[in-house]
Symmetry: C2
Subunit: 348 residues, 2 copies
């Protein structure tokens, strides 16, 4: 290995996935990484990854899409390293905006070292006094997802009744706390009693339920929202969405962040109760966090303020080492993680 | 029969409907009608109905809803006369806003004479120089549906690509023409070649197709909209909605007026491609024309202007006599009608 070469472990996609992904769909491989900016890419930024973020949207990229009509991002390529959000340290830079030693977050590879060819969406970390891992979550892509989706898409008013599914996850826990800050009444659903306990006792949700213990989701929602729901922050889809539609109020809003229950189905379920959109004049709107990257700095300052004032708390589920990435990614779909799932690759 | 009594034929619901309605679910019965304002209802308005409107939403009222979570209007009651929009002439009034001889439109009964107990939503006809039947359509509830749904919910911009399903119907033909007035490119779908011809040659749609002749709706839409759809005015649901979702553009809008393909299904279909809401940041929003009755006069003047200038044309499918109401209503669901379906009860 040359003097400026280091060993670089990374996670590749072995094959396109249909149905539920397994660890065997991925493989951890080792290659070499040059720590010098390559002459053919003189404005690239080279980073050492410290924390890798595991996010549900990555599942979509593991499938082959024959056309781009139902996706918004390129498919992964079998044999190549998965991409994902990371917190990283710059080790070399040909870009005037970044220098060696800078702490950054943005889209990198699921590997120990990454070459960022187009650093337009690489953000400098302004608050290293907070846990750096927060930049994979509350101060990173999931945080901005919660902030933009709840405040800009769902447009809460004081007193609104808010429901959050997948509520203990990376995004949901923040939506619930932003709802409380906005003067709303908020209820969350999660898939274990431990998570329900977190929602009520750590994140300050007004109420919460374990959806796996409810045989009738419509009735569970009716019990929690006798007057109906003004805002649903949607991350799961399927039976939950269908039950929610029946419990929405007139002129209510559904901000659609994702539909995690559908990602591993070969034939998604749809929502038979869609007529409720008419009956209740519901606005249902999807969004992509990438559209909001331009307002990241404003978000970051506001969220840092909430964290420092103790108005927002954040729970992470950190596993150690790049070898754990496949297991951690797959765990998202069985709800194994408690809080934001991330992988610590290197600590410094 | 007393001196102020007349014979009154009306259409009653015989039983609650599941699945496809049949003529046998309704019955035309004759009763007596007093032409005097009843002492127990001193502010009522009594009307002679001239034209009755047949509208898809009436199907919802023919089913028994165990709760009100998926409907927005009361169920009809078996044995009682169906309600519907009508153009009528006032024959007696205890209400200071209406006097004998006034021509009005609003919610009445499917019968020859109706007592309107609460005339809040009875509108005076300001332009009797136009065909009175237009007040069941282009100048009535369907017209306001097209106007509010397209302009207020879908919010067109000049140059938008607009798709209208059920495009030759009471609402669709107007949405298409409003789209042209708004500077949009508009394509419609309908269920026969005759209707497609109307769309292209009478209503000025830029293109149109017969959905019954397309084996692949997604491909048909791709052919008509190689760059995708900015606005979908939705009246049908089911397979069409699912194909549309795949063809929507980023930041596009779906105004949901109704889902006629679903009304006779015991288990509605949903839309498996709902993830497109996220991938394309689609806003999908339901609306009810009743929310816009307060702006009726503004709408009426604008639409009368378009009609008189020849910028909007309107096609009606008129059948004669109250006995034809059941057949006309049921025909809506097989697409028998060409243009706005209504029934002439009395002409004067």
């Amino acid at each position: 290995m040359a003097a400026d070469q280091v060993s670089n472990k990374g996670v590749i996609l072995k094959r396109y996935v249909t149905g539920f992904p397994t660890e065997d769909d991925m493989e951890v491989v080792t290659s070499g990484f040059s720590l010098a900016v390559p002459p053919g890419n003189p404005t690239a930024v080279l980073v050492k990854n410290l924390y890798l973020s595991c996010d549900p949207y990555m599942r979509n990229r593991m499938s082959k899409h024959d056309d781009d009509s139902a996706t918004y991002i390129e498919d992964f390529v079998p044999g190549e390293v998965l991409a994902g959000f990371a917190v990283s340290k710059v080790v070399a830079s040909g870009n005037p905006d970044f220098k060696e030693g800078d702490l950054v977050w943005g889209l990198a590879g699921c590997e120990e070292y990454s070459l960022i060819a187009h650093p337009e969406y690489l953000f400098k970390i302004s608050h290293p006094e907070l846990p750096l891992s927060y930049y994979t979550g509350v101060l990173g892509m999931p945080g901005l997802t919660a902030y933009a989706g709840f405040l800009d898409v769902a447009k809460p008013k004081k007193g609104d009744y808010v429901f959050v599914s997948a509520a203990s996850g990376a995004v949901g826990q923040l939506v619930g706390q932003l709802a409380k800050i906005s003067g709303c009444y908020v209820v969350g659903s999660a898939g274990s009693d431990e998570k329900v306990n977190l929602l009520k006792n750590k994140f300050g949700f007004d109420d919460a339920f374990n959806y796996k213990k409810e045989h009738d989701l419509k009735a569970a929602l009716k019990r929690c929202f006798p007057e109906g729901i003004d805002i649903y922050f949607e991350s799961v889809g399927g039976a939950m969405l269908d039950a929610v539609l029946l419990n929405m109020r007139k002129h209510s809003r559904i901000a659609v962040s994702g539909l995690i229950s559908q990602y591993n189905l070969e034939q998604p379920e749809g929502a038979p109760n869609l007529f409720c959109l008419v009956a209740k004049r519901i606005r249902m709107e999807g969004f992509i966090v990438g559209d909001y990257f331009g307002s990241y700095q404003k978000f970051e300052e506001e969220m840092v303020g909430y964290l420092k004032e103790g108005k927002i708390t954040y729970v992470e589920d950190i596993v150690e080492g790049i070898d754990k990435v496949p297991e951690a990614l797959i765990g998202l779909f069985s709800g194994r993680n408690v809080g934001k799932q991330l992988v610590a690759i290197a600590r410094e």
